[in-house]
C-alpha cells in the first residue's frame, strides 16, 4: 500500500529509535492526544522499542470515550422513538448509557444503522421521506466539517426529515484543561495529525508558549509516531517549547480553510461535558440556532435528560493521563470489551481497549 508501507518500514523504525535513544538524557512524560495514535502504539508495540526513560501517557482523544453519558442517553431516547432511523458511526453502538446501548435499542426492534459518513445519512433521509433520520454527530475537529456539510446539504435538498444530534469536542481546550490541572505530569505533546489536517496548528502556538511545552503535530503510522516523539524529545532536551510539524506531508500551518469555513458557518463554540472529565469551557461545538430545524435536541425535545455518572468512574483519570489502564483493579477482570465498565474500554480507540487487545500479558 503506497503511502503506508513506507511509513511502516522496519529499518526506518529502528533508525529513529536509535536516534531517540541517542538524544535522550533524562526521563520525560509525553502524551499522545489521539486515540488513533494510542491504538497504533499498542498495535505495533512501539512502546516496547522506546527507551525506558520515555513514559507515554494516553490522552483524551477518543471521541467515543469522551461523549457524555447524557448525550448517549439522548441518543437512546431518540433512537427508541417510532418512525426514527438513527444513524451513527459504528463504535458508538457499543457505548453504554444509563439504561442500555444502541445495540439494545436495535434489538428491541428500532431502526439503528451504522454509516460511514453523515452524508450517507442524507441519502437514507432522501430514500425514506416518511421517516425521521437522525445522525449522531460526534467527534473532534476531524468529523466536524462533514457533519456541518450534511446540514448544508440537507438545507440545499430541502429535506425536512433530517437532523443531527451534535456532541462535538475540540482538542485545544482539552489541552488547556490538562496542562492547567495541578496534577499535570505531561511535559510534551504529540498533537493529533488528523485534527491538524482540518484545523492547521496555529491554535497550538499560544498553548506551547503559555505552558512552555513542546507540541509536535504527529501522524499515525509507526515512523510518523516515532518521528513525533523524536522531535518532542529533542525540544525537551534542548529546553525548547515550540510547535513543530512532523506530519508535513498532510498538515500545514493554516489547515483546510474551506473545512474551517463550513464549521464556522454551521457550528458555534460551547462549553462541553466530557465523559469522565467533566465540563471544559469552550471545548465543544453546537449547531447555531438558525439551524434549529436540523437540531435533533430541539426536534425531539430531549434537552432535559441529565443523568449522573458514578463519581467513582476512573476512566476520567485514564483520559487525563493520571493513571494507566493496567493500574485499574477492574482491568481485564470485571471490565472487558464485552462487559465494559467504562468508556475507555468501549471504543477500539479507547486506551483500556487498546491495552486489553494488545498488551495484557506482556
Amino acid at each position: 500500500m503506497k503511502y503506508l508501507n513506507e511509513y511502516r518500514d522496519s529499518n526506518l523504525v529502528h533508525g529513529i529509535i536509535d536516534e531517540i535513544t541517542r538524544s535522550i538524557r533524562q526521563k520525560w512524560v509525553i502524551m499522545e492526544i489521539c486515540g488513533g495514535q494510542t491504538h497504533a502504539i499498542m498495535k505495533y508495540g512501539l512502546d516496547q522499542l522506546l527507551p525506558e526513560s520515555i513514559e507515554l501517557v494516553h490522552g483524551p482523544g477518543c471521541p467515543v470515550c469522551v461523549t457524555s453519558l447524557e448525550m448517549i442517553d439522548k441518543a437512546l431516547a431518540i433512537a427508541s422513538q417510532p418512525k426514527v432511523i438513527f444513524t451513527s458511526y459504528g463504535d458508538m453502538l457499543r457505548v453504554p448509557g444509563s439504561q442500555g446501548d444502541l445495540f439494545s435499542v436495535r434489538a428491541s426492534g428500532n431502526d439503528v444503522r451504522v454509516v460511514y459518513s453523515s452524508l450517507d445519512a442524507i441519502n437514507i433521509a432522501q430514500d425514506n421521506p416518511d421517516k425521521k433520520i437522525v445522525f449522531f454527530a460526534i467527534g473532534f475537529e476531524t468529523t466536524a466539517p462533514a457533519n456541518a456539510m450534511s446540514v448544508l446539504q440537507a438545507q440545499k435538498l430541502g429535506l425536512n426529515n433530517f437532523s443531527l444530534l451534535v456532541s462535538h469536542v475540540r482538542v485545544p481546550p482539552a489541552m488547556h484543561a490538562i496542562l492547567g490541572s495541578p496534577n499535570n505530569r505531561i511535559q510534551g505533546f504529540l498533537a493529533a495529525g488528523h485534527v491538524c489536517t482540518v484545523m492547521g496548528y496555529w491554535e497550538y502556538v499560544p498553548i506551547a508558549q503559555k505552558y512552555k511545552i513542546p507540541i509536535v503535530v504527529t501522524g499515525f503510522e509507526p515512523v510518523d509516531i516515532l518521528q513525533g516523539i523524536l522531535f518532542v524529545i529533542r525540544e525537551l532536551e534542548e529546553n525548547k517549547y515550540e510547535v513543530e510539524n512532523a506530519y508535513s506531508r498532510i498538515v500545514n500551518y493554516e489547515g483546510n480553510q474551506a473545512a474551517q469555513k463550513i464549521i464556522e458557518q454551521v457550528f458555534e463554540e460551547c462549553d462541553q461535558k466530557w465523559r469522565g472529565i467533566g465540563f471544559i469551557p469552550g471545548s465543544g461545538w453546537r449547531l447555531k440556532s438558525e439551524f434549529n430545524d436540523y437540531n435533533a435536541e430541539e426536534q425531539f425535545q430531549v434537552r432535559e435528560i441529565t443523568p449522573v455518572e458514578s463519581p467513582f468512574c476512573i476512566s476520567g483519570k485514564i483520559l487525563q493521563g493520571l493513571i494507566k489502564p493496567v493500574d485499574c483493579p477492574a482491568f481485564a477482570n470485571q471490565c472487558t470489551p464485552e462487559h465494559p465498565l467504562g468508556a475507555t474500554m468501549v471504543s477500539a480507540e479507547g486506551a483500556c481497549a487498546a491495552y486489553y487487545r494488545y498488551g495484557r500479558i506482556l
Partner: protein, 359 residues
C-alpha cells in the same frame, strides 16, 4: 493490580451491558459473545462429552457387533443466513454446502452425506431458488458428497430475509486419524492454507451499505480434497480448523483455549491480499478477524510441517499456504503476535460485532 485505589472500591464506572436479556447481533458474530451465549444457555442443558469437546463437528463412535469402536463418524450442522444471497465468488447455496463439508472435514473425516433444510420467505422468486439449488448441486459434485434428505418451510413475507439454508453433514473418520482442537502441543507448527479475509471483505463489498467497492472474490470452497492430500502425507496432523466468523484470530484463540497452550504467530508470514489489506485499512478492520470460507488452519507435528506444507502448495486451494507460527511452551491459553519490529502483542478473540471505527 495488587494495590487498588481506595477510591474505586464498590461501583466503578457506568453499568456494564452484558446483554443477558435480549439477543443482539454480536451474539452471532462467532466471537466471545457467541461463546458466552453457548456456554451459558446451551451447554448447561445439552451437556454431553461429544458436544463439550467444542470442535467444529461432533465425533460419534459407533460400536459394531463385536463391540469394537468402528466406524467413527463426524457430524456437523450449520445455518446460512448471508446477505446478499449472491456475492462475487459464490452464493448462499455454495456456502451452505462448503460450510458444512468443511466443518465435518475439520475432524479429518471424509464427508459423504448432507441434509438440507430451506426456510423460504413468501414472495421469493422461484428462479432465484433454482439458481441457488443449481449452485448447491455443483458444489456437492465438487465436494463429492450426496444430499440425502431435506425439508422446506415457507414463512410469511417479512418474517425472513428471502432464504435461509441449514445443512447437516456426516462423514467417516479414517483409521489412524485423530484430529481435535484439544491436541495442539508445544513445538507444533501452525499452517494457514492461503490468504485470509477474502470472504468477509467480498461479502461486505457486495452488500453495498458501506459504499466501497473491491475487486475481491469470496474464497468459499470445499476443503475436503485438500485435507485428504494432507493426510496422505502424514497422520500427525493434530488440529484442523476453518477460520470462518471471527477469523484467524478467534479460531487460534479457541484452539489455545481447548488445548490450554500458548500460540505465537509472526505478522510478516501471514498471507493477506493487498486488496483485502487496503479495504481493512480503510474501514478500520483487522484482517485477522475477517471471515474466511475456504481456508483452514492446520496445527501439525513440527517434523512433518514442511512436508505437509509442500503437499498443500500442490493443491489449488493451498497454493498460498504458509507456516505462520508455532505452539509455544509458555503457559496458555493465549495467542501472541510478533510484529515486523520484533515487538509482541496479544491477539484476542473477536468480542462482539465487528464495527467500523469512526476515524
Amino acid at each position: 493490580m495488587t494495590d487498588p485505589d481506595p477510591n474505586i472500591e464498590g461501583i466503578l464506572c457506568p453499568l456494564p451491558l452484558p446483554h443477558n436479556e435480549r439477543i443482539v447481533l454480536g451474539h452471532g458474530s462467532g466471537g466471545r459473545m457467541s461463546y458466552e451465549l453457548i456456554s451459558k444457555v446451551f451447554f448447561p442443558l445439552f451437556d454431553n462429552p461429544i458436544l463439550k469437546a467444542g470442535d467444529d463437528a461432533g465425533l460419534i463412535i459407533v460400536l459394531n457387533q463385536a463391540g469394537e469402536h468402528n466406524p467413527r463418524l463426524a457430524v456437523s450442522t450449520d445455518s446460512h443466513v448471508v446477505s446478499p444471497l449472491f456475492f462475487p465468488g459464490g452464493d448462499i447455496g455454495r456456502l451452505a454446502i462448503c460450510g458444512t463439508v468443511n466443518d465435518v472435514s475439520m475432524l479429518g473425516a471424509t464427508p459423504l452425506w448432507l441434509t438440507a433444510s430451506f426456510i423460504l420467505e413468501e414472495g421469493l422468486e422461484v428462479e432465484t431458488l433454482r439458481k441457488i439449488v443449481e449452485s448447491m448441486h455443483s458444489a456437492a459434485v465438487e465436494a463429492n458428497i450426496k444430499i440425502i434428505a431435506g425439508d422446506t418451510k415457507v414463512v410469511q413475507n417479512g418474517k425472513a430475509d428471502r432464504l435461509y439454508i441449514n445443512t447437516t453433514g456426516i462423514g467417516i473418520i479414517p483409521t489412524g486419524v485423530n484430529i481435535s482442537g484439544t491436541r495442539a502441543r508445544p513445538g507444533d507448527a501452525i499452517i494457514v492454507s492461503g490468504t485470509i479475509g477474502d470472504h468477509g471483505i467480498a461479502v461486505l463489498a457486495a452488500r453495498g451499505e458501506l459504499n466501497f467497492q473491491a475487486e475481491i472474490k469470496s474464497d468459499v470452497a470445499p476443503l475436503n480434497g485438500l485435507i485428504a492430500r494432507m493426510l496422505d502425507v502424514t497422520k500427525e496432523i493434530h488440529v484442523l480448523r476453518d477460520p470462518t466468523r471471527g477469523g484467524l484470530a478467534t479460531s487460534l484463540n479457541e484452539i489455545a483455549l481447548q488445548s490450554n497452550v500458548g500460540i505465537m504467530i509472526y505478522e510478516e508470514t501471514i498471507p493477506i491480499r493487498p486488496t483485502v489489506e487496503a479495504a481493512c485499512e480503510m474501514l478500520g478492520f483487522d484482517a485477522l478477524y475477517v471471515a474466511n470460507e475456504g481456508k483452514l488452519i492446520a496445527i501439525v507435528e513440527k517434523n512433518s510441517a514442511d512436508q505437509v506444507l509442500a503437499a498443500m502448495k500442490e493443491h489449488p486451494l493451498g497454493a498460498d499456504a504458509a507456516i505462520i507460527g508455532a505452539v509455544t511452551d509458555r503457559p496458555g491459553p493465549h495467542v501472541m503476535l510478533k510484529t515486523i519490529y520484533e515487538t509482541t502483542r496479544m491477539i484476542d478473540m473477536m468480542s462482539g460485532e465487528m464495527l467500523p471505527r469512526i476515524c
